[in-house]
Amino acid sequence: MTANPQRGEASARASALLEVRDLKKHFPVTKGLIFSRTTGYLKAVDGISFQIERGKTLGIVGESGCGKSTTAKLLLMLEEPTEGQILFEGEDIHHTDASHRRSYRSSVQAVFQDPWSSLNPRMRVRDLIGEPMVINWDVPKREIEERVEKLLNDVGLSSYHANLFPHEFSGGQRQRLAIARGLSLNPKMIVLDEPVSALDVSIRAQIMNLLKDLQKEYEVSYLLIAHHLATVRYMCDWVAVMYLGQIVEYAEVKELYNTPLHPYTKALMSAALPSHPDIEQDEIILTGEVPSPLNPPSGCRFHTRCPFAMDRCAVEIPETKEVAPGHTTSCHLY
């Protein structure tokens, strides 16, 4: 394998590869065209903390508008956080020198949902996959080509595919290309934003298995953004459930699926579709829709839809409590 010049001696200071502390992203809402003034803030991400361990997968689940995609953008440095820290190998990525930032950007890569729009239709596969290396690494062209071939083989394609254009591939194959590109810089972490939801059912299992195999081979961590709970159960080691910009429950995957605590998590589980017609599900059907993050409800943000809401839920913001080892939730019930 090609040596990666970016990968210096990995600092083993922190046990977690990545740590997020009280991260916030508030988008200003403006009124008026010329003399525009800020009339409020959309709190897309409002104080979240989590860790991602080396070689492990953290899943973030939640409905649209819960802030999971903004979280992904913050981690990819596509958005500047309003407050809070992102520590990567112990280093605060926003308060460090340019070379560290640069190495962070190449250590954290992304694979997006829709492989029809995430691959440039005018580039050949060799350039699509090779481009990150051309930009970031100072290595001879031949070495890059060899590595493109290796990556193609690793994701289950063949060397001759390097000469083709994206339109010559099926959806599953395109997602394989996107994964190969994500892996090209030997990243330590990949942000997977709904990586299988645009694919056909029989192809999804192929891609999920491939991602799991590559994780072992490349020792890469994943942040998986998904809404399909069964997919998250299959793919992840840890899960964070988000609602309106906050993490309401955070636990190891088995723990979360066997003993969900937060009413929102329970509602999500009961709303998810069963894998067999004989499976009896609790009928917690939430009424209404997710409130606007422009004007989130007072107290616990979930109280407007919660079947167990009490008087204090509307007033008091629940603290995050560790209910079992490694299992935290924010709810007045506990």
Binding site: E63, S64, S170, G172, D200, V201, S202, I203, R204, A205, Q206, M208, N209, K212, H227, L229, A230, T231, R233, Y234, M235, K254, Y257, A267, L268, M269, S270, A271, A272, L273, P274, S275, H276, P277, D278, I279, I285, L286, T287, E289, V290
Partner: protein
């Protein structure tokens, strides 16, 4: 509760339906010999991947196939005793919406952005029901209340962009049921909705079905929807139904290798799966179908015979059949 044992009268009978498209690559046999029937109050799921012909089946049932390039080559679709393939276009437009209606996948594009939702719901009522103008509004409100639109009186004047995705989908549902059709086809009605909204919508459809004794056809790729909603299932692959049976028969003893593999490739919510079974390869191109079984190239049990001859339908039980030579 409408369950498996329920035997209402047959409202829809599809016999050997073939819908072909002529393209520059040759004839695409999108639907190639599909037969099924549907009883009142029953829910049939049609499952398959993209390109398996489930949507073309649905469009054929509505007679909405663009001709040319498409053509319903043969078969019959008997809806409440009348073969709708024999109807003229004028006669068909009276049937469409009043006897058989459709809920399309994407609520963002299936509503017209420049008309209020009220006018879009009452359009169907106006066309199909001979009632005075004044009571049309009443009926529109009633239909909107049926699909749980809150404050229907004010919502009728809203435009689609003023509603959330879940509400829009319910408006589309309201148009579907406005004339109390015998058969309602729902084409992936929940794919663009969030999980909790999806649960609300599926419950709504079940309630409506019971109220109006609707026969529902669910077009989906999601076995979860099938497990939750359907009484019977038809699994499609490359334009044909490869397996059909009661929902429990399909889940408990899938008899076609494709159904079996598909069920094994879906991660489960309720249990840990170490490694998913992945079906290798991809569905065949519809313009270049093999002579024998279309699944042969991906099938773990493939025999010589599979490549030579398309398998006949074999009975597994009185209500369960599959097209596979393994059952011969």
């Amino acid at each position: 509760m409408v369950s498996n044992g329920h035997t209402g009268d047959i409202v829809l009978e599809v016999e050997d339906l073939r819908t072909y498209f002529s393209t520059r690559w040759g004839t695409v046999k999108a639907v190639d010999g599909v037969s099924f029937d549907l009883r009142r109050g029953e829910t049939l799921g049609i499952v398959g991947e993209s390109g398996c012909g489930k949507s073309v089946t649905m469009l054929s049932l509505m007679r909405l196939i663009p001709m040319p390039p498409g053509e319903i080559v043969s078969g019959s679709i008997v809806l409440q005793g009348q073969d709708i393939l024999q109807l003229t276009e004028n006669e068909m437009s009276k049937v469409r919406g009043s006897q058989i209606a459709l809920i399309i996948q994407d609520p963002m594009t299936s509503l017209n952005p420049v008309f209020t939702i009220g006018s879009q719901v009452n359009e169907a009522i106006q066309i199909h029901q001979d009632i005075p103008r004044r009571s049309i509004l009443q009926q529109t409100l009633e239909v909107l209340r049926k699909v749980n639109i809150p404050a229907a009186e004010t919502r009728v004047k809203d435009y689609p962009h003023q509603l959330s995705g879940g509400m829009r989908q319910r408006v589309v549902g309201a148009i579907g049921i406005s004339c109390e059709p015998a058969v309602l086809i729902a084409d992936e009605p929940t794919t663009s909705l969030d999980v909790t909204i999806q649960a609300q919508y599926l419950k709504l459809l079940k309630d409506l079905q019971q109220q109006q004794n609707l026969a529902l056809i669910f077009i989906t790729h999601d076995f979860g929807v099938v497990a939750k909603m359907c009484d019977r299932v038809a699994v499609m692959y490359a334009g044909r139904i490869v397996e059909m049976g009661n929902v429990r028969e399909i889940f408990n003893s899938p008899s076609h290798p494709y159904t079996e593999a598909l069920l094994a490739s879906v991660p489960k919510l309720e249990e840990d799966v170490d490694r998913l079974f992945a079906i290798e390869g991809q569905p065949p191109a519809l313009h270049d179908l093999p002579q024998g079984c279309a699944f042969a190239d991906r099938c773990p049990h493939v025999m010589d015979r599979c490549r030579e001859e398309y398998p006949a339908q074999f009975q597994v039980s009185a209500t369960h059949n599959a097209a596979c030579w393994r059952l011969a």
